[in-house]
Point group: C2
Chain length 172, copies 2
DNA sequence: TGCACATTGTCTAAACATTAGACACACTTG
DNA sequence: CAAGTGTGTCTAATGTTTAGACAATGTGCA
């Protein structure tokens, strides 16, 4: 049994029921919403470990704009909660855009229950990873230096530290 | 005219020619390979600003395994160079897997020239962004605290710093 | 070639940050 | 209530960062 709450947002009550049954035995709590209107307040209250978000809410509008908007809004306000998108209108462009907009994963309807569970677990695990500050820093420093072709003065400027400090950081 | 070299890897010479013409007027230099075998050495020599990688090299094998392998290998060795994948067998699962494996973007054949150019430019721009160390640090600190529900002792442990230091960091 | 300019490696001394350790206090939880 | 854990605060030692300076080394270009 995985700890944490899952928030599921889909305008189709039948799907919500199906998902609830599918996830109910695996996750501590499954909260559902039939519309994303109250998503932000619900997230603030429930503090879910992950969010499963359908992309199509307005009848007849299946471009995914709606879901994309909510994805952005939720991700901006809660950048640490992984959001898994789900849609019936699988489309490569849409999937790519979703991932680039911060989605943790992208699942097509009809989904495989085991796959859905795996995807959510993975998303939660990945979101929970916190690396030491020192490691984060040294990776970033390497990136800055690579972008500046090894020019330490410019790299130090980009990083917002003094040249000498950068010098010391890469020494050790 | 955008600075930097683009490396294009595709087993179809006709496509390489087409891409070269399409990108030639926009980017400083376009280098092509018909097989990814020499990709790593070529990248080391040319230091490209971005890589355009086809996903299917073995005749009859179109699952994208080949391209995915090379994506991982290249991304591991050159994590700062954005890799745009391109494939004729557009598939949501494949695209999602590619992006999660470090691809900067995913384009389907037949592509739109302007879109390809835009995607490459975006990938290069995004890869070149370097934020100040302080900002990176404070974002990471917030993430750690959120994961630990505000428990400073555990967050400090995860971050590899002392409790007092974390205390000071969030004060200022 | 040689000049102007930028960058590096190195140093100093002052300012600042980080550390382990200590301590009273508040908070959960059995 | 008592044990356990976390917080806010302090100290003194240690380590890091800074601006500034300097000669030496590269780099672009006339």
């Amino acid at each position: 049994m995985k700890h944490g709450t899952i928030l599921v947002i889909d305008d189709n009550p039948a799907i919500l029921t199906a998902v609830k049954i599918c996830l109910g035995g695996i996750f501590e709590k499954v909260v559902t919403l039939t519309s994303p209107d109250k998503a932000l307040t619900t997230i603030a209250q429930e503090n879910p470990a992950a969010i499963l978000l359908d992309m199509n809410f307005t009848l007849g509008v299946n471009s995914g704009q709606e879901g994309m908007m909510w994805l952005s809004a939720i991700h901006r306000k809660f950048p640490d909660i992984p959001i898994v998108l789900i849609t019936a209108y699988a489309d490569v462009k849409l999937a790519v855009r979703a991932l680039k907009n911060g989605a943790a994963d992208f699942v097509s309807k009809p989904w495989d229950n085991d796959e859905l569970i795996r995807v959510l677990k993975d998303a939660i695990d990945k979101a929970g990873e916190v690396i030491p500050l020192e490691q984060l820093e040294s990776e970033h420093v390497r990136k800055a230096l690579s972008k500046c072709d090894g020019n330490m003065k410019r790299a130090a400027d980009l990083l917002g530290i003094s040249r000498q400090t950068l010098y010391n950081k890469i020494k050790n």
